[in-house]
Symmetry: C2
Subunit: 498 residues, 2 copies
């Protein structure tokens, strides 16, 4: 077998895995948006069967030899990058013994099931034993992957979501945020208190009107409805693949802004998928989105940077008024804009605003790192959680439902995921800063509902790169320097105190 | 390896194939009901990949040995039936060389593509070369399967859709229909002409109201919404599997009855899936619906026997009036009933009524059998088609769009499928006759919107049998005798001349 054919065979193997992965993403979307409840058990079997086939495909006995053979041969930079991503997939897929994979899956589903009962009751003690068991298995996974990858255990877990993400890079960035956030939040709340409270547009807002508004704004941002759709699910998400990317939202008939902002957020994710390179790149590892940080940066760039702005609200306000057949001072662009950037010290991460959100993430990041490193016991989580909230946000959750039981991540087995939210927010600020600096028409474009200058910059500098570069290289190439927390800080200061 | 483990391994192999088959059916449903157009190419790749895996799973080298080993051992009747169905799947899946499978797939997609252009233009000459090529490949397939199965070529193709279906059984039944239909159609039209024309309920009928009506009637028939849903697609169908069965319809805002009757029809299919036996049967070949004849019998039993009846319309009329906020003579039960059983000599099979439908099918059955057996050339199809319509229906299509180009079946590669429609209609009549004879409350139940007596009989006598019996055995066990065209004839005479 020649080396050329080794590489070609790898492309075929990973194409097959990607194609089945696409089918999996349709089944996941369906489960969240369409499936009747009684289909859950059968769907779980289908997902397990297809995941098993993807795993078998990537870890087939010949793949190790093919990777070694292909890597030993001269390849062009694109092929090298593709091989690098293939090896990354292979290492993550092949490193765990089957009994650990099974034990992890059991621990995840047991813990998540108990968490679903314990959360509404605020009963941390109920979930503690299964959380401890799950953490032990996650640490087993991290330990094995750490050895294979030559990384610390936490980094090995983080690497599953954010390739090449490292705690040593995150710590100084989060320390920078920590150094100004508590005081800054106080300053913002004081400044906000000196201004009149924005008026609440009076509802109700029928779901079908909200959907029509969402669809119009998706079109404005550049969503391609020939390759995607908008539906409803309990937890909004963006799923699918470049040829068929589907976003979901849910409608609160008392508050149209929550679904609208959610739709703009998920549209940012979708635009990243749509903008990924086509042709030879499709269904190859190098053609995928770069990682969770970059993906979150694209949703937050659209939601937080582009759309929670006076420019966008000047454009959007007339459409919003028209949609709901409303007028009056509550519907003025400036009022809608100020409502969209209200800040509040709250307990719940998913309801948090742009200013307080990073505090929620820093708390979780430090806690999960300590738990993974064995510096803290699960039993000590509630106290440490409340301590973190007191120090960073100045509030103490009245119960664990509003505290350490609120997020599914740990109880479902996602450890090492949390930092990507705030790294994404910071990356969004830095990319938007570079884009608007490089292309003067981006901000005026947003003000007139023309996102094409922004989208063109993102396609050239982010979307069209796939996974060719690392996240750090991509940010550096696009903005002239690696992730710099000062840019995010400046953005916050300008928007909230400027 | 012991024989016990051979059988167990087969169960595991066929369970895996069934699970991936379920995923395929969700992807098919999504393609028809949800997928944006631009997702078609990627979806085709996904379907091909999963079909390939199903094929590999069933035809894995060890399956032949496992089947032989399991068959040599004593098994209980349930296991024997399961093995019989496994072998049937295996023979159909393993009999064709890979190059013929590929040539067939190419010929099918080419011919169907050209047919999509030729049909609106009524241009049979345009599609003739690719139809001839496709027919040649279908005959290759039939020839190989005929040899493997010890059957005639047409029977080998029919067996793909209707296990154990044989032309020798169909011919006398269709000859019986042929012997009375042309005269009977004339009698029915004369009788109809002597009665006043039923009034057309005045529209328009908004799609959302039609959907609400469809959902209410699905519930009345016993549709389990915890395990299914109703959506829209261009061609109505029933897809999915017992745990998650989904039906579709499409709404004509000028005629509510077409979607309503379509929904009742597809609900009949869905009730069969819901009623298939659970537990050990699920995901095993013996647990599947028996075949296309029995499946079509269940949809036609609900639509034609139960719901296009005066009893059902007495129950449904008030709900229909309430749905559309209408009243007046056009909305009376008797008028709605008489509109639901109007008879007309028409060119289009899918628009045909219960009386003329069998003529459309007999024409196609005889033509496709002649083409498959080599007794006729594709070039002679249009003339033979028009001759058949003149003789059986007394009309001649003015163009091929309304003639031999109307159905996708032959141009898409489905040969041997057509007879199942009318065999299903006759089976429906015979089952309904037996059911109402055995359970006096079935007809009164339908009249008060209580389908549970009918459903209970169907679950016991049809649905709950899965594929344990052959179609012939199942009909005999349920009704006391094999398929008897006299029962269908009696039903038609009573409803249309009685």
């Amino acid at each position: 077998m020649t080396e050329t054919s080794a590489y070609s065979r790898l492309e075929a193997i990973f194409r097959k895995a990607a194609t089945i992965g696409e089918a999996l993403s349709v089944l996941h979307w369906d489960m969240a948006a369409m499936m009747p409840d009684g289909g859950a058990e059968a769907r779980a079997e289908q997902l397990a069967a297809l995941k098993g086939i993807v795993h078998e495909t990537i870890t087939a006995p010949e793949v190790a030899d093919l990777l070694a053979a292909a890597e030993a041969e001269p390849t062009d930079p694109w092929e090298s990058a593709n091989l690098r991503e293939m090896r990354r997939d292979w290492v993550h897929a092949s490193s765990l013994p089957a009994d650990l994979v099974a034990a992890l899956a059991r621990a995840e589903s047991t813990c998540e099931m108990i968490w679903r009962q314990a959360r509404p009751a605020g009963d941390f003690a109920q979930v503690l034993p299964s959380l401890s068991e799950l953490l032990a298995r996650v640490r087993d996974v991290g330990g094995i992957k750490a050895e294979r990858l030559g990384l610390a255990v936490y980094d090995a877990l983080l690497d599953q979501y954010e390739p090449d993400g490292r705690a040593a890079d995150i710590d100084p960035v989060f320390d920078h945020l920590d150094s100004f956030l508590p005081g800054f939040i106080g300053d913002v709340l004081e400044a906000q208190a000196r201004r009149p409270v924005p008026l609440a547009p009076p509802g109700p807002f029928p779901a079908d009107r909200q959907k029509a508004l969402g669809l119009r704004m998706m079109a404005v941002l550049g969503f391609d409805f020939r390759h995607g759709r908008l539906d409803v699910s309990h937890h909004p998400f963006c799923g699918g693949y470049p040829a068929d990317t589907r976003i979901t939202t849910r409608y609160d008939e008392d508050d149209f802004a929550s679904a609208l902002m959610g739709v703009l957020h998920e549209t940012g994710h979708a635009l990243y998928e749509f903008g990924l390179p086509g042709g030879r790149w499709r269904s190859q590892p190098v053609g995928r989105a770069r990682g969770m940080v970059m993906h979150e940066s694209q949703s937050l760039l659209m939601e937080m940077q582009a759309c929670r702005s006076r420019d966008f609200m000047m454009f959007a306000a007339p459409t919003i008024r028209q949609t709901f057949g409303a007028e009056g001072p509550a519907w003025e662009a400036d009022n809608l804009f100020r409502r969209s950037i209200g800040v509040e010290r709250g307990f719940i991460r998913v309801e948090a605003d742009e200013v307080t959100y990073p505090a929620h993430v820093i708390i979780r990041y430090r806690l999960e790192k300590a738990l993974i490193q064995g510096d803290m016991k699960p039993a000590d989580l509630p106290a440490a959680w409340n301590e973190g909230y007191a120090r960073l946000l100045g509030i103490s959750p009245p119960d664990h439902r509003l505290g350490c039981l609120q997020d599914i991540h740990w109880y479902g087995g996602s450890w090492g995921y949390f930092p990507t939210y705030t790294l994404g927010a910071m990356t969004a600020a830095q990319l938007f800063d570079a884009a608007t600096g490089a292309v003067p028409d981006i901000l005026p474009g947003i003000g007139r509902g023309d996102f094409s200058p922004l989208l063109a910059w993102l396609r050239t500098n982010v979307h069209g790169k796939g996974s060719l570069l690392s996240t750090r290289e991509l940010i550096t190439a696009a903005t002239g320097r690696p992730l710099d927390p000062a840019v995010f800080e400046r953005h916050l200061r300008q928007r909230y105190l400027g």
